[in-house]
Amino acid sequence: MLSPNPRSTASIAGHPLHVMLVPIPVVCFIATLITDIVYSQTAKMLWSDMSAWLLVVGVLVSFLAAAAGLVDFFGDRRIRELRAAWIHALGNVTVVMLSIFNMLIHTRDAYTSVVPTGLILSAIVVLLLLVTGWNGWSMVYRHRVGVLPSREEVP
């Protein structure tokens, strides 16, 4: 019996894994922008150290989130037919690539670990996350990706 909604392949008991994991890197990368801005204004190493930890945790968990997302993407043709899914997937792959790059920039010592390259990368990543996040929400709330059919919808 085929659900009328695009199905999440990487899920546990109908709970898609991708949406459980993805908030962690999203929050880490947004927080990185904040701590980078504070560092750029104060030059207090506490803040750039915080950025470095946030980036490492964000990047590591983003690998897991990306794996779950890609399994969903390739697991159901109806997801791949969605324009929002393509924007979400390509955008987030770019986010991960830029964040790896940013993580390496943040291994530099002192001021140039953040200013200017690190700070610019952190800002670009947050802007991209707004686009990919918007499209991710479209996938779930408009196209019902991974949503179980309601009682009336079950044939």
């Binding site: 030059a43 207090k44 190493m45 506490l46 750039s48 150290d49 470095a52 930890w53 490492v56 997937a89 390509l90 792959v93 770019t94 690539m97 790896i100 790059f101 390496l104 920039i105 291994t107 530099r108 010592d109 002192a110 001021y111 140039t112 670990s113």
Partner: protein
């Protein structure tokens, strides 16, 4: 489409990581009073290339023509400095750094691991050994534990009957009588030195003024380039002048990132030092150097290097200090890590080596082509270095990128032999004339 795109990204990232480092220049261009300074290159992944320690297994270092090298002592536990007492007894300081502090960022975890790779696996001692030559062949016949249970000791100096040891966190005084082979008396603290909890550059070199009234201690910076915060650098990257009578101190000279091998030049009686300069600005920045130290002088760290070359990694900037930064006297080339210095006043070695300075270069980690890992000779005339440095003792590297040992502290023994502490090779080597 998807995989093609991410594949292209992957290739681009790999190229950025590996393909953009500048080619190392010939290190000889950076030896002497006016080193070539290339533009700054900041890495994505700094090269971390330390020679794997393989030990000597019976082999010995190679000496320049007219010289020979013998094993003075082997099977030691991290010998880092040597000091010769007036009666000819040789003190060998076995030492290791304090444990690393808890990591303040992920990079610290990687750096601690690299640091472990670059040192011998044997647990270093925290003590001073005494070696005595009883038959006059220049090699020791007796060995005793001279002072035990020290705290990351490095510098030693004797003034009269006062023996001073520079632990990483304090200068301690011990009573010494000529001929003694073991000191059991508890030391008396003369002066605290900046120690933990970070204690990044922990080796505290020590010497005494020619008149014996003052001690001079080298206190290295607490970071590569202020990444542990400026507040962690209080009293660091400087040479301290300590009053022997009162233990009070002042910063004699500042801006010296990691000063070691403090020695007074015998002809002019001026203080000289070898300095480890900053990392991660490229394979050929910044040259380490040998310099005389002026009272009140500022030598750049952290704000600038080699005079007025500003380091972009340091904020807030201090143009007022940079404008006063003194250009060091003599560059030794980049990342060689000089830790030992001795002016040769003996007569055993060929005349060529008299009056100049030997420098022990521990060897690089922050460049893909290894540099240092040898002892060089810098000729001096009228108290100033002249001409190119010469390799005197080599053979610490084997098969291109493995190390049998790494030279650290140097001293001249009572017969005029040159002693070399080799911490990774757990040995002390003695260099003397090939034919007497």
């Amino acid at each position: 489409m998807m995989s093609a795109r991410s594949g292209a990204w992957g290739v681009a990232v790999m190229l950025l990581l590996t393909g953009c480092g500048p080619k190392p220049i010939d290190p000889r261009r950076q030896v002497g009073p006016e080193p070539y300074l290339p533009p700054i290159h900041q890495y994505l992944l700094p090269p971390m290339h330390v020679a794997k320690i393989v030990g000597w297994n019976g082999a010995t270092p190679t000496a320049a023509a007219g010289l020979k090298v013998q094993a003075f002592a082997t099977g030691l536990a991290g010998p880092r400095s040597v000091y010769v007492l007036p009666n000819g007894d040789v003190l060998v300081v076995e030492s290791g750094g304090p444990p690393p502090p808890s990591p303040s960022r992920p990079k610290d975890i990687v750096m601690n691991w690299v640091e472990k790779m670059s040192h011998s696996h044997a647990k270093p001692g925290q003590r001073i050994l005494l070696f005595r030559d009883t038959n006059g062949d220049g090699l020791p016949d007796d060995k005793t534990v001279f002072i035990d249970h020290l705290k990351s000791p490095f510098g030693v100096v004797l003034v009269g009957s006062d023996l001073y040891v520079a632990n990483t966190d304090a200068v301690v005084r011990y009573p010494y009588t000529t001929g003694e082979t073991r000191i059991t008396a508890a030391g008396t603290k003369l002066c605290d030195l900046p120690g933990g909890p970070i204690d990044h550059h922990w080796t505290k070199s020590l010497t005494a003024s020619p008149d014996g009234t003052k001690l001079y201690a080298g206190v290295g910076s607490n970071s590569n380039i202020t990444e542990n915060g400026l507040q962690a650098e209080l009293g660091r990257a400087s040479v301290w002048e300590i009053d022997r009578a009162t233990g009070s101190h002042r910063e004699y000279a500042t801006g010296l990132r990691n000063p070691n091998g403090l020695q007074f030049e015998p002809q002019t009686q001026r203080l000289w030092v070898v300095v480890n300069e900053r990392d991660e600005l490229g394979p050929d920045l910044v040259p380490d150097y040998l310099t005389s130290v002026k009272d009140g002088g500022f030598y750049g760290w952290p704000y600038s290097y080699y005079g007025q070359h500003t380091d972009p990694r340091v904020k807030p900037e201090r143009p007022d200090l940079v404008s006063q930064a003194i250009v060091p006297d003599y560059a030794l080339s980049s990342h060689v890590a000089p830790l030992g210095l001795v002016f040769y006043t003996g007569t055993n070695l060929p005349a060529h080596y008299r009056g100049g300075a030997f420098v022990g270069e521990h060897g690089s980690w922050n460049r893909t082509t290894l540099n240092g890992y040898k002892v060089v000779y810098v000729p001096f005339q009228n108290g100033h270095p002249v001409g190119a440095a010469e390799d005197v003792v080599t053979g610490f590297l084997v098969d291109g990128d493995k190390a049998r040992g790494r030279p650290v502290g140097l001293a001249m023994d009572s017969q005029g032999g040159l002693l070399i502490a080799d911490d990774a090779g757990n040995s002390v080597w003695r260099v003397s004339a090939a034919s007497p």
